[in-house]
């Protein structure tokens, strides 16, 4: 039997603004992503110095995940929250930086600290470490957010008991262009978000 699943909470990050469950929770003047992410980190009083070592894609995914997961993750029990994220540019934002470090043979300095972020799923690792999630995780690439596949795949994880909750979403970032939409999906009925789907929320 397939259980019905419900969106529990959702977050959007774009245009220097963070909107949580439809409500603007952080907004600043036009700036670049590095500054925006730093200011958001300070605004929400996140205590996690490793944040500053992350590449931009990981920072984006980390911020969205932190605001959704911090209220629901418990220290007392295992949190079976799967991570299913997708984007278009994979890790190209960092790939380009690594490529630059090897293109000029007279100035050949590949760095392990950069190279490790040339994989899009590293952001899943960062979120897993932060919230101690020993859970299912996979990173997908599409030309645009394939909301149908992503919600189907999340439902599969929930219905096959591979996860109790799924953090599902789109985390696109290249240069200073970024857009994140993340939501938590579970089997508890949520009266606050009833007729919405990932698709309708993402396209709002």
């Amino acid at each position: 039997m397939t259980q019905k699943t419900y969106i529990q909470s959702y977050i959007q990050i774009e245009n220097n603004e963070i909107v949580l469950n439809g409500e603007s929770v952080f907004k600043i003047e036009q700036t670049d992503f590095a500054d925006f992410s730093k200011q958001a980190y300070r605004h929400f009083e996140i205590q996690y110095p490793k944040f500053f070592k992350m590449d931009a894609l990981s920072k984006l995914a980390f911020l969205g995940a932190d605001l959704l997961l911090s209220p629901i993750v418990s220290d007392e029990k295992e949190n079976n929250i799967a991570l299913v994220l997708a984007n278009n540019s994979a890790s190209l934002d960092t790939d380009v930086k690594h490529q630059e470090s090897i293109s000029d043979k007279g100035n050949y300095f590949p760095s392990p600290a950069v190279f490790v972020y040339t994989l899009p799923n590293i952001c899943l690792g960062e979120i897993s470490i932060r919230h101690q999630l020993k859970s299912e995780n996979s990173f997908f690439i599409f030309d645009t957010f394939n909301t149908e596949f992503m919600s189907n795949y999340s439902n599969i994880l929930l219905n096959s008991n591979k996860a109790e909750t799924v953090l599902c979403g789109w985390v696109e970032l290249f240069n200073n262009n970024y857009k994140a939409f993340l939501c938590t999906i579970g089997t508890n009925e949520n009266l606050k978000i009833t007729n919405e789907t990932i698709n309708t929320l993402y396209n709002k």
Binding site: S111, V116, I122, G125, K134, E136, I141
Partner: protein, 383 residues
């Protein structure tokens, strides 16, 4: 009752051959694709890697298409898929998905700074080019989850079919040896200065490799080569560039996969492990296997034959392991000499016959990811 899932077609394109049969012959002979290379367009110093000859790729591709627009990796992926799509006779309709798995795709395109070249470095563009060659009707799905990508794709395909979204999923996995990846592994000091030696005392790191592999995952038992009976992919939640010291994520992945398969760990006849030959990875695997009491189960790493083919490795090694099971032959873990992990494991030292009913495929990668999939041999009914 969930649908039962099978792999019904397999193929691979590697330095050892452009079909499964020639790869198995090479493995049985003890050949390796790993050779020393002196190519300053790839690395400032000489290095060991398993690289496919360009001319071989182009000649083989010319036999199936006169198109010149495809990248080297796209040709390798099309070559892997072409015979199995032809042979399967599955209609490419709305119930047939195409799933591509890779870590770096066409990353070599970044060397050229044109806008067009940058576009082709996108993984969705790679997937679209390969999908359009065969005229798949469904939108391609790409998974990029570091070095577990290839085996994770099998598990994703299984789940998609079990949910009845699709009846058939063609899976292709591939990665190339590139300056991009060589320079990165070298910066991590993770490259072996000799052909890699998984699980050995004197192992010093990876040899990189390139390959593509393709399979058809299907709900249709006719022509089944193997049954996929359990799978799991659990993150270590420990470190982004090193494995967990306790093998926690791999341990949990195997435990979950066995639970879904409804078999005891002791039922496993063979483990096709990841075995990259870095000191930490191989040690971590031995610890995870030890925690599951898998010390005596024969285990190999195929990295000694193919090098580490990144996102291709999990699928390539599954293709080879299926042949191992169906011919009841354990293949040597090439490059192995003296045990060099702290926990006891049963590394296969030479090819030998053994009845294989159940086997396990595992992989682990950057970002703390791990995947385990359990396979069961098809029991042919007597008529």
């Amino acid at each position: 009752m969930l649908r039962e899932i099978y792999i019904t077609e397999t193929n691979c394109i590697t330095p050892l051959g452009f079909d499964v049969e020639s790869n198995i012959e090479s493995i049985l002979r003890g050949d390796t694709g790993i050779q020393i290379h002196n190519d300053i367009s790839l690395m400032p110093n000489s290095f060991y890697a398993s690289i496919i000859n360009d001319e071989k790729i182009n000649n083989a591709f010319a036999e199936i298409s006169a198109e010149t627009k495809y990248s080297r990796l796209e040709k390798m992926m099309i070559l892997a898929l072409e015979p199995i799509i032809k042979n399967a006779g599955v209609e490419l309709n709305s119930k047939t998905a195409f799933l591509l798995s890779t870590t770096k795709g066409n990353v070599t395109a970044l060397k050229d700074q044109s806008e067009e070249s940058f576009k082709s470095a996108h993984l969705d563009a790679l997937a679209k080019n390969v999908a359009d060659f065969f005229q798949f009707q469904t939108q391609p799905i790409t998974v990029s989850n570091a070095c577990v990508s290839g085996i994770l794709a099998v598990s994703i395909a299984k789940r998609m079919i079990q949910s009845e979204l699709y009846d058939n999923v063609f899976v292709v996995a591939g990665d190339e040896v590139s300056e991009f990846v060589l320079s990165g592994f070298n910066a991590f000091q993770a490259m072996s200065d000799l052909p890699c030696k998984p699980y050995s005392k004197n192992r010093t790191g990876v040899s990189l490799g390139e390959a593509t592999a393709a399979v058809l995952v299907s709900a249709n038992p006719a022509a089944a080569k193997i049954k996929v009976i359990g799978d799991s992919s659990i993150n270590d939640a420990n470190h982004i560039s090193g494995p967990s010291r306790t093998g926690e994520g791999l341990f949990l992945s195997i435990q979950n996969a066995l639970k879904e398969a409804q078999i005891e760990a002791q039922k496993l006849d063979y483990i096709s492990a990841h075995g990259t030959a870095t000191p930490f990875n191989d040690e971590m695997e031995a610890i995870a296997f030890g925690r599951l009491n898998l010390q005596s189960v024969p285990v190999n790493s195929l990295k000694g034959f193919y090098g580490h083919t990144l996102g291709a490795s999990g699928l390539l090694e599954t293709v080879i392991a299926i042949e191992s099971a169906n011919s009841n032959t354990l293949f040597e873990s090439k490059g192995f000499d003296e045990i060099g992990v702290s926990e006891t494991i049963n590394v296969i030292e030479k090819n030998e016959n053994k009845n294989i009913e159940y086997f396990l495929k595992t992989a682990s990668g950057f970002g703390g990811c791990n995947t385990a999939v359990v396979f069961e041999k098809i029991k042919h009914k007597l008529h």
